[in-house]
C-alpha cells in the first residue's frame, strides 16, 4: 500500500496537518492532523510498503515494544483507509 497522490502535508508550528488538493477534494474536504509518529509513518507511506515494514520502521526509530507498534500502525492505517487516503493492493 501507499498514499494516494493529492494529499499535502504541511507543518505549522508544532501542528502537522494534511489537506486534500485537486481531484481529492471531490470526496474529502476536511483535514487530518498527524502526531510525531503519524508524520513519520506518513513519510514512509509515500512509497509502497506493507504493514509489517511500517511496524519494523517504527520499532527501528522509536523506543516502543512490538505489540504497541503493531497496534499503532494498524490503527493509523485504519484511519487512512477509512478516509480514502490509501492505494491498497489486493
Amino acid at each position: 500500500m501507499k498514499l494516494k497522490d493529492g494529499f499535502i502535508k504541511s507543518k505549522l508550528g508544532d501542528e502537522c496537518v494534511v489537506v486534500p488538493v485537486g481531484a481529492q477534494t471531490v470526496d474529502f474536504r476536511g483535514l487530518i492532523t498527524l502526531n510525531e509518529t503519524g508524520e513519520f509513518l506518513w513519510e514512509i507511506l509515500t512509497e509502497e510498503k506493507t504493514e509489517d515494514e511500517l511496524v519494523k520502521a517504527l520499532l527501528a526509530e522509536y523506543d516502543v515494544d512490538e505489540e504497541t507498534a503493531k497496534k499503532d500502525v494498524h490503527a493509523f492505517l485504519d484511519t487512512l483507509s477509512e478516509k480514502g487516503f490509501l492505494e491498497e493492493n489486493e
Partner: protein, 289 residues
Amino acid sequence: MKTICVADLKINIKSGDTEFFNRRLKDYAIPFVEKPDMVMETYLYDEIPEPQGELVQTIKATKILQCENGFFCRYIKSSKTGVIPFAIYFTKDYSNVKICLKKGYTFQNLSTTDWEYLYTGFMFANRLTVLGGTVLHSSSISYKDNGIVFSADPGTGKSTHVSLWKKKFGDDLLIVNDDKPAIRFVNGKPYIYGTPWSGKTDLNLNIKKPLKAIVFIERGETNSIESMTITDSVLNLSRQLPNPFYDKEIGIKTVDFIKEIYERKIPVYRLKCTISEEAVEVVYNEIIK
C-alpha cells in the same frame, strides 16, 4: 479587448455579457497594455466545437485535455444530448484563458452571465494564486485602514454582518468587496484588495487596505469571539480559498499561502454571532480598539 487592473494584476479582458461586465469592471479600467499579466476572453457559441487534444484526466463528468499551443481544456459534454455547455481553455499558469459558453446556458438557476461571472472569477483567482496571492471567499471591510475579512459558507450571514458595520460606522467604513476580495503580501505585509467579483451585489471598491485579521463567522445564540486553533484555521481557510478539483498545483499553492498566513502571524478568529450591533462591537473591541 480592454485592460483592467485588479489586485495589481493587469488583465486584458473580453467579455461575453458586455453590459454586466462593463458595469462591474469600469472602476478597474486602465489604459490598454500590450503585455498584461493575464489575458481572459469569453466567447458565446450557439454550439461549442468539441475540444481536441490528449485526454489528461476525467474527474466525474469533467474531462481535461492537453491541447495545442500549451493550452489545457476543461469541459463537460452531456452524455444524453451531446451538448457542451462550457469549455475553458487555459495555459498551465492561467496567464491565458479562453472561456467558451453555450449561448443561453442555464443550470442550477444560474444564467449564462452568472456562469461567465463565476468562471472569470475562478480563473482570476487561479492566476493570482499562481503569482503568490489568493482570493478569499469573504465579505471584507476597512475601518480607518484596519482591514478585516469575514468568511463563512454561503448563507451564514457575512454580508448581513458587514451591513451592520456600515450602519454603525457610516462613511468611515469601506466595504472593500462583498464576496471575493484578493489578498496579497507586499514586502511581507498582507493587504486586501477589492475585485469586481463581489457576488450578488455591486459592493466592491478598487482599493488596497492593510489586512488586520481574518474572521470566520458562525451563527450563535450570543456574541463571542476567540482565536482559532491552528488546525481550525487551516480547515476553514482551505475550504474558502482556491483549491479547484481540476488542478492540484493551485491547491498546493493555497497550502503555501495558508502557511504564510500562519508564519506572518495574521490573527484568525472564530466569531459566534447574532444579527445585532453587539456582534459588531464584539469584533471591534477585540480587533480594532
